[in-house]
Amino acid sequence: MNKKDIKNIEKEMRLANEGLSEKEKTLFSDARPMPVRPLNKYLEKFLNWARAESLWILGYGTGCGAIELRPLMTARFDMFRYGIAPRPSPRQSSVFVIGGYASLKTIKRIVRSYEQMQGPKFVIALGSCTINGGMYYDSYYTINRIDYYIPVDIYVAGCMPRPESLIAGFNKLKENIKAGKCDGMNKYAENFDWYKANQKKIIKDWNMPDYNW
């Protein structure tokens, strides 16, 4: 048996939540994500309405775009009018706002936070950096396209987009949710291997579970 085979076997035998203590291992599930089928047509429609009217965003700003979330929260733009509220932890939130450029260091945390969010979950990518790299297109440490690593439902273009355009993005997201078009979570589950391969291509020191929630 050569070295490569041994390495492969070791890789297969490795538990996804290896590295955790015995006590903590039971807290995590390492099952692969499964696509969720919509329920009965009318019930699903009602649920989609409810989901669209209470969007809770994860308080995690990855880049400079996070600065636009502050005026959105406060009196002038007041996103709570639209039922949008910030939440402190991934478990409680349903919308992930990628605030601008994502470096290699950040994409690791983005993937981890996205996977820990409970479904149904949606992603708004804001700024040109998330679309094609923006002004960092030739940077050695900034990724160009966020949709190769996590699925994106709405892009808000601009460098920086103003809070008004963010609100327009949120309203578009609401429309799409109500129409049942936001299935980023299912896309992630169906193309799980492709997403993981892309993530592992750039994150060289992969020291976290493949999937956990």
Binding site: K108, N132, G133, I202
Partner: protein, 186 residues
């Protein structure tokens, strides 16, 4: 200030000095005199504050330029000490015994330029880059665009406006005739 400069000239082999402003001077010294010079400036001449330590990649001369920027609170003067070191075997004496916070600068220089500072605490740990396997990215012979195309997925259809052509189209001929600034257009 003149007194200090005179002493420096007498006691150390200073190759060049340059006055930018009344409160900003640059002095070039040899690599092996840096510790004695900095000790003199810190303990006798009142330049107690190390503002920063940074590097410039002089790839044409095959050298790294290190700049130690000192500040004196009595004279209210900035004094930059410039040292040129070999680019191939980049190694410099650590100054973390003189200013304790210098280890952080030296750790950054090790990661971004590959300049080694033997004996400096935690100098081999990564500073901001995680899992970096290529050559130090701030070296000028590292092609960031090529690396970005190779590693990250480009979205097709990206267009760049060449400012010169755009200005020509707009009939701002005076601008279009201005000498080339040497900026690489892509």
């Amino acid at each position: 200030m003149e007194e200090i400069l005179r002493t420096l000239e007498q006691q150390f082999a200073i190759t060049q000095q340059e006055k930018m402003r009344d409160d900003l001077l640059f002095v070039d010294v040899k690599k092996d005199q840096i510790i004695s010079l900095l000790t003199y400036l810190k303990d006798y001449a009142g330049f107690t504050h190390l503002a920063f330590l940074q590097a410039v990649d002089r790839i044409e001369d095959n050298k790294f330029q290190l700049t130690y920027m000192l500040y004196s609170f009595q004279l209210k003067t900035n004094l930059g000490i410039r040292v040129f070191i070999d680019r191939e075997k980049a190694e410099m004496i650590s100054i973390d015994k003189l200013w304790a916070h210098a280890w952080q600068y030296q750790r950054e220089l090790k990661e971004m330029y590959g300049i080694d500072f033997p004996g400096s605490p935690r100098v081999d740990e990564s500073f901001v880059l995680e899992s970096w396997e290529e050559m130090p990215p701030m070296k000028r012979d590292f092609d960031t665009l090529e690396y970005s195309i190779k590693t990250y997925y480009q979205r097709p259809g990206r267009s760049t406006n060449d400012p010169k052509k755009y200005m020509k189209k707009k009939l701002y001929n005076n601008f279009a005739k201005s000498p080339d600034t040497g900026r690489k257009n892509d």
